[in-house]
Symmetry: C2
Subunit: 322 residues, 2 copies
């Protein structure tokens, strides 16, 4: 914990660069600024940074309404400065979070630019969800200081971040990013190999594949899959992980559980290969089921509702921790 | 909704039989009694019903403390009568919930007994999680009135129940059980085919298989898997299902999402067969990781903590709905 505090103190003397000011970049700017850090925000399109500033002010105002920041939203927003060039963003920066377009040549170009002009000790976290950092960050002097720091959207509400080293990331960079993220109040998950989808999206993917397959086979409707999770499985998973959950579900803990239920789970796995594509007919089926309850025109409203619920959860958790 | 109210009114004139008074049966007794229904509780071991009554009184008292029942716990408990014979349990009963031992010959024997002496219109819901009702309920006059009504433990806190017809269950019986469960405040999920693990356990199973595999490959620790769900994925799943979640995660909804991310999910599925057993070494690895944070001796305490958290969620939801 001392280490986290030290790193945060260090970061207060030097700016944080937020590179790429879309939804993800804007979310990161909030995370850094609410912790008291100075943020320089850059995007190849200057207009995007202005849009981001408007969004950030709205988000900070919502956070304030839910008791999720203690300072005035204006005070926090004032720590974020849109800048017109990459050089201005990284001048003196101790850490850069890049959230540019999810295309390997774009990421590679950016890392090359950073290599040319970033401070010699600046660490770079990439928000990439789909491209391992090893595909765009190797073979340069900066390489040991680049790693994946993958957030869930929005990072100022949902704490988990996946830290994934490339094959050339140094231990020091991982340690720095870990301390920084912990100090910011994020929950760090260490992913030790660059597997596709990292951990969070892999776990989501297998559950989704099974859900789609069950709908395809006519076993269950989309609405009933949603009910199964929302009013069943998801309750425990909102405060305990899957291992913690099964550890409590057999008298002698997880090993006991594995012995009792492992064979059932293996049979379920064997019954399904999961590797067929979601074809057009299935997508049409799922979409039409969902559109019955929620017209496309109401998606935006529904997103706002979701964000409200997430804020309530964050707020309840914050109260508990204080 | 009118139908649910009608069914509940009908049930108030005739008792509900709870057969098998272990943890699951006792939980069901609470669900019926708190809705104002008269419950006759039977177990082949009379001592088990007395233990169940003590447990039920504790549970009702907890529910009352969390504002989850409006009546006095004693008033609710008084609706539940342990009886020494199966005949007394089902005399005049409109519905029986069986939660006897999860062994096919035990279930089959019970259904045969019920066939011989239950009221001609009594519907039987089985709490089976692993044995499809078609394996123990076919070929008898009572068969059209037997179906799976699979709860999550404890059913008085977690609302979801899976309704699964056998190959001989009548539509009327499904409709009756649906109305009854809805009237009791449970969330009904219709599982249309008797697939192994039904829906809830299948969804849990695939996520667990992936989690175990990632630990086996050294990608991530058990603790970090738990964090990924508890501080990431699980937040949304506590109030939205997986389809609802992805529907909001692409500008044009679920079809748009499937087009963007379907290929990634397919690659993840293709990268894994999931059908190898959890071997002794892996179980030992997982158990030793978990035991570092939570000694076996503290499991019971931790279960009590879990139940407190579930009550808080149930209580928050109840307040919202009122």
């Amino acid at each position: 914990m001392t280490k986290n505090v030290e790193v945060l103190a260090l970061c207060k003397h030097r700016p944080i660069a937020v590179i790429g000011a879309g939804l993800v970049g804007a979310g990161w700017a909030v995370v850094f600024a609410r912790a008291g850090l100075t943020v320089k925000m850059y995007d190849t399109n200057i207009e995007t940074t202005h849009t981001a500033m408007r969004l950030i002010k709205e988000q900070l105002s919502s956070l304030s309404d839910h008791g999720l920041i203690d300072e005035d939203p204006g005070t926090v927003a004032a720590r974020i400065t849109p800048v017109p060039t990459l050089n201005e963003a990284i001048a003196g920066a101790i850490y850069a979070q890049e959230s540019v377009l999810e295309r390997v040549e774009v990421k590679r170009g950016l890392i090359r630019d950073l290599d040319a002009c970033a401070p010699q000790d600046m660490v770079v976290g990439s928000s990439t969800s789909g491209i391992p950092a090893s595909e765009f960050s190797l073979g340069l002097p900066i390489s040991p200081r680049v790693l994946t720091v993958h957030p869930v959207n929005p990072p100022y509400l949902i704490p988990v971040v996946e830290l994934v080293p490339s094959t050339q990331t140094s231990i020091e960079s991982i340690e720095f990013a870990t301390s920084l993220m912990n100090a910011l109040g994020q929950t760090v998950v260490h992913v030790r190999k660059e597997v596709e989808g990292f951990v969070l999206n892999r776990l989501q993917a297998v559950l989704l594949r099974e859900a789609w397959a069950l709908v395809q086979e006519g076993v269950v409707s989309c609405e009933d899959v949603d009910k199964t999770v929302r009013d069943g499985l998801g309750w425990r998973w909102s405060f305990m992980g899957p291992f913690e959950t099964i550890d409590l579900n057999a008298p002698q803990g997880v090993a006991d559980y594995a012995e009792r239920l492992g064979p059932l789970y293996q049979r379920i796995a064997q019954s399904r290969q999961h590797d067929s594509p979601w074809d057009a007919g299935l997508i049409e089926n799922v979409a039409s089921q969902l559109r019955q309850h929620l017209p496309l025109s109401e998606l935006e409203e529904r997103r706002a509702w979701r964000d409200q619920r997430l804020m309530e959860i964050a707020s309840a958790r914050r109260t508990k921790q204080q």
